[in-house]
Symmetry: C2
Subunit: 221 residues, 2 copies
Amino acid sequence: MISHTEENYLKAIFKIAEKQHKAVSTNAISKEMQTSAASVTDMLKRLSEKELINYARYKGVSLTEEGKKIATSLIRKHRLWEVFLVEKLNFSWDKVHDIAEELEHIKSEELVEQLDAFLQYPKFDPHGDPIPDAAGNFTFRQQMPLNELAENEEGILVGVREHSSPFLQYLDQLKLSLGTSIRLIEKFDYDNSVKITIAGKQSVMISDKVAHNLLIKKENH
Amino acid sequence: MISHTEENYLKAIFKIAEKQHKAVSTNAISKEMQTSAASVTDMLKRLSEKELINYARYKGVSLTEEGKKIATSLIRKHRLWEVFLVEKLNFSWDKVHDIAEELEHIKSEELVEQLDAFLQYPKFDPHGDPIPDAAGNFTFRQQMPLNELAENEEGILVGVREHSSPFLQYLDQLKLSLGTSIRLIEKFDYDNSVKITIAGKQSVMISDKVAHNLLIKKENH
DNA sequence: AAATATTTTTAGACTAATCTAAAAATTTAT
DNA sequence: ATAAATTTTTAGATTAGTCTAAAAATATTT
């Protein structure tokens, strides 16, 4: 039997491994999990004992196939529940993370599969992140951060790279939601801010940081 | 902050208190929770410390207002999730208990209220048990166990007093579901078994034990 | 009202998950 | 290639929740 906490460590390791090629360090995990490095070491020993990670002292860790399977399943559940909360219970996209964080630990294969069917097999969650299928496969999509668009290029907002409430509420204010089309008008080299038009209407300035966190799919590509 | 386990103890105490007038004993709780009496005593001290129960050594316990509120909220969440599982995810009524047992611990007021609205404010769960409203009030209903019906009296099955899979599957076999009308044809004093007709069609014999666990609402009453 | 039986509590120990502080290993800089 | 800095692990405690076995309190029986 695998505990709630062990599951959270596996998910953290998966998340960190996604963004790099090398072994995942103790410190990276302690930062992600907001715990002490000593606690992480303790947990790594336990996860290694259960053969969910490959671990050698001082060398960092990687997930085993079994560990990867569990982490992927958690991500699948988390994202399906987020879709449920937004589509069926009318939650806004900036309020669903914490609740899904609890729901993802509910243990029932049948529940996940029925929920997936009920939601009509969504491929992406409310933030545009891909939902792995029952076999653990993610759907990939041609996309890039808004700041990488050239001047006068246009695309559709398909995802966000930050999930914090303040960021998402800021996007709501700009009337920026997934599916909205955005054209990059001008880039300012001084601070890398960009001028864009939203849905062919309002033109606004957004910072480098915001542009970096908006994922765009170019039209007919 | 109240833990998962503490919540389960409160619910167990509430459940036992429902069926009797006196203080709830340590042994009754240990039986309900499937733990040792020593563990129960430990937990009672903690719950008493948090003012969720009234506790005096060797005297049994009762819930405080705050404890009652938490227990009722858990029951509300449990039963709403059961409705969701049956009505939206097509689970059968004998499979929902364990999953709801986990879901009831998800902490979010907003989630419960949105779920309630999504389900259109159901008053009863799939086993016919009343769902308390947000204020903690249960809907009462004129009902009695089937074995208390007189010969030739008729009524509608509105609830079951046992939730085990074998019992519910047995009812499925008899084509007995909530809302079905039942007429008591004959009582056999020898073993208290009864002969009934289901929905005016098949007539079958059922044991005292089964009859005891079927809750009937008499027609126009 | 004693004796007996039952229930409840205490004592002491265990595991999972956490912490701080100190030690050990590794990496980086001079 | 040594010294300094950083990272990781170990050592030793703590808390929640659990256990068994023994002691204490209460209830029941004769």
